[in-house]
């Protein structure tokens, strides 16, 4: 006699330890197997895009901090790059180098959290997470040194920076660069070849190359699927064309590949910072920008390679002191598009690590 079973609906979230914020997955389960999934988001919607329309161009920068609060420095960068494009403002050489250094530090900090919480989702009870927070703390210390803030830096300005970094910044940075590779080696020793992690993450949640391109995924998710696409290389902004670095790519597009891509990217970021530190010129850090920026009528799209993918700001100007329209291309949201395809057929436990491997921040998804 066959047992009569029926699928049931499990609400994972909006408040759940592994949804990295207030994301909700309405999962239809057949026992442990996920047979349908409906992602629900919007719980953290704050109307950032609308709020931006009522502020001056400089006044929007604090709002961008609150998008991807794990990586606010790169959010600032994406926004100021867009405004500079719109208003045709040039940036001094030293400021460009500083931007590169800060953005790469932010990438390291973000990937530390991404990898740490991914491994935590795999069930490695907080050990990798706390190890990686230990090093993130040092990046944050560096950021605190330059901006006085530890989470929402609000440091970049249109046309450069308000102030130069303090004298003690570069010695501290050098020390960090010297020590960080050893810590990355430590993470690799701990879990890279772990049998359970391989069994859990290899071949799980495959995002095929074609699908990844079709959903316009970007960042480590796209590169994990084997597409060599990095805005720092294909459309260099700032001074990225002057540095030597590789773009790590995965082969299959599974959770393990995405995890590997992130770890290798940390090493590449260190490489970039090292070069930038050597070449950074002296000089002013801010070009001559008026107090109230009034860009000419027109539109501009500025985008950078944020830690999570291509972060773009589309700005329309009507000649006034506030943007007429501000749209944010959030990598977290677009990377989530294929969530259903990636998760169906896998078990709840896999669904959690697939979700963790995409690495999203709800502040950016909901805006």
């Amino acid at each position: 006699m066959a047992i009569k079973t029926e699928p049931f609906v499990l609400n994972i979230g909006p408040v759940h330890p592994s949804t990295h914020g207030v994301f909700r997955m309405r999962a239809t389960l057949d026992g442990e197997v996920m047979i349908d999934l409906e992602p629900v988001f919007g719980y953290l919607h704050r109307g950032v895009e609308k709020l931006a329309e009522e502020r001056t161009y400089t006044g929007v920068i604090p709002l961008t901090d609150r998008l991807d609060y794990i990586a606010s420095m790169t959010n600032n960068l994406a926004y100021v790059v867009a405004v500079e494009k719109l208003a045709g403002i040039s940036v001094p050489e030293r400021a460009e180098y500083l931007r590169v250094i800060l953005a790469e530090l932010q990438r390291i900090a973000n990937h530390l959290i991404a990898v740490g919480s991914f491994l935590n989702d795999c069930g490695a009870y907080f050990t990798p997470f706390l190890y990686m927070f230990r090093e993130r703390e040092r990046v944050i210390d560096l950021f605190e040194m330059v901006s006085g803030q530890r989470l929402l830096y609000n440091f970049m300005r249109v046309g450069g920076f308000n102030q130069d970094v303090p004298d003690e910044f570069f010695p501290a940075l050098e020390k960090f660069i010297r020590q960080m590779p050893r810590y990355i080696d430590e993470y690799e020793r701990l879990l890279k070849e772990n049998e359970i992690l391989l069994a859990r993450a290899k071949g799980v949640g495959i995002l095929p190359k074609e699908v990844a391109i079709n959903i316009s995924a970007s960042g480590p998710v796209l590169r994990g699927s084997g597409v060599e696409w990095d805005l720092r290389k294909v459309a260099p902004y700032s001074v990225y064309d002057r540095f030597e670095f590789d773009i790590p790519t995965g082969t299959v597009g599974d959770c393990y590949d995405r995890y590997r891509v992130r770890v290798i990217e940390m090493r590449q970021s260190l490489r970039i910072i090292e070069q930038a530190m050597k070449e950074i010129p002296a000089g002013p850090v801010k070009s001559d920008v008026p107090q109230l920026i009034r860009p000419p009528v027109g539109e501009a799209y500025g985008s950078i390679e944020a830690p999570k993918g291509e972060l773009g700001f589309y700005l329309v100007s009507d000649g006034s002191i506030a943007p007429y329209r501000c749209h944010i291309r959030a990598p977290s949201l677009l990377n989530l598009t294929a969530l259903r395809e990636m998760m169906i057929g896998w078990k709840i436990q896999d669904a959690i690590i697939i979700f963790g491997s995409i690495d999203i921040t709800m502040g950016e998804v909901d805006r």
């Binding site: 490695a124 009870y125 050990t127 069994a199 057929g345 896998w346």
Partner: protein, 372 residues
């Protein structure tokens, strides 16, 4: 030569008469109190050890405010959960919800009735002691399933289902790996098994020890098999809907089960209370704590396995190896009926290493994606 149970050394003779301190009821009363105090104290010690040990391994401090080295932290934890409000979900099956922690806790406590703290110092020296342990330890699963079913929460139910699946599967390799020990010792009584261990059975039964340890960890849901309360997936598994005293009982069950498995491992494989210089009961406690420390260690180190991998590990890996171990032990006991020669130790270690390495090449854990 390894001596057989008949050749006990003088120092290990029966210290206490079976009905110490005189009379059935006095014996019962004294040992019940000893067991409860032992379990409560060691569980508190365990909680402290786990939190401090994990703090140390995770590059943080761990609790260090209450008392020296945070030793009073478990007391504070206990007071906190006791004064919490006892919440029962509206649609819960009230009676089942109430009974579940009790049903889960009682059998766990009953395991200690047959565990010898030192020679002859145990509540009941059953001649089928180990059989009793295996039987009674499975009962607490009923309590866990009642909790999952009674609290009317899908996470709880999923956790409870996983627990039942895990316990049913892992019971078999668990029992089979015990039989090897029983064959060598020639008795089912835990006290007799300890008396038979002139050298700890971990040396004679390395494979059996490994299988028992893995199966035991899975049975009590210690990491990396802690699927039923997988905090990153099922929030808190079967005790999601519990608070206050009932939650405290489940918390107690979790550590009491770990204590029980550590006690059984100590008794079966590590020579129980036997050891030089120190008093026997102290040896017992030290060994139990060492076994538990290994569990804490694995918890901080390893990621969690998936449910199908958990099942596959039991049926494809542990069960065949347990059967092979049983076969080898049987042959050895048959070949040297009086006492096993020293060479057996090296032989068994070699067999264990070869089998574990070989077997892990043969099978793939789990089956991955399901077409829907």
């Amino acid at each position: 030569m390894i001596t057989s149970p008949g050749l006990n050394l003088e120092q290990y003779r029966q210290i206490l008469p079976p009905d110490w301190p005189g009379g059935f009821w006095w014996h019962w009363l004294v040992f019940t109190i000893i067991i409860i105090v032992f379990v409560l104290l060691l569980v508190m010690g365990y909680i402290w050890l786990e939190r401090r040990g994990m703090g140390r391994m995770q590059a943080r401090l761990g609790p260090n405010r209450l008392g020296p080295f945070g030793l009073l932290q478990p007391v504070a934890d206990a007071i906190k959960v006791l004064i919490k409000e006892d919440l029962v979900p509206t649609n819960a099956d009230k009676i089942v919800h109430l009974l579940a922690p009790i049903v889960a806790f009682t059998p766990t406590l009953m395991i200690f009735a047959v565990v010898p703290f030192q020679n002859g110092a145990l509540l009941a020296d059953l001649n089928i002691g180990i059989l009793y342990v295996v039987a009674i330890s499975s009962v607490s699963t009923v309590g866990v399933f009642m909790a999952g079913w009674g609290s009317n929460n899908k996470y709880s139910l999923l956790g409870a289902m996983r627990n039942v699946a895990a316990v049913v599967s892992y019971e078999i390799p668990l029992v089979l790996s015990i039989i090897g020990v029983v064959l060598i010792a020639g008795s089912l009584s835990l006290n007799q098994i300890v008396l038979a261990q002139d050298i700890p059975f971990i040396l004679l039964q390395p494979l059996g020890f490994l299988l028992f340890f893995i199966a035991g960890c899975a049975e009590i849901n210690r990491s990396p098999f802690d699927l039923m309360e997988a905090d990153s997936e099922l929030v808190a598994g079967f005790h999601t809907e519990y608070s206050g005293m009932k939650f405290a009982l489940f918390y107690l069950v979790e550590y009491a089960e770990a204590l029980a498995i550590a006690s059984i491992i100590t008794t079966l494989f590590l020579g129980g209370w036997r050891g030089p210089l120190l008093p026997p009961w102290l040896w017992f406690v030290i060994k139990v704590i060492i076994v538990f420390f290994v569990m804490v260690w694995t918890r901080t180190t390893l990621p969690r396995v998936r449910i199908d991998q958990l099942m596959a590990l039991a049926w494809k890996f542990l069960l065949p190896l347990a059967l092979i171990n049983l076969l080898i032990t049987g042959i050895q006991v048959l070949a040297w009926p009086d006492a096993l020669p020293w060479g057996v130790i090296f032989l068994n270690f070699a067999i264990a290493v070869v089998l574990v390495l070989l077997w892990s090449k043969l099978f793939k854990l789990g089956w991955g994606r399901v077409e829907v």
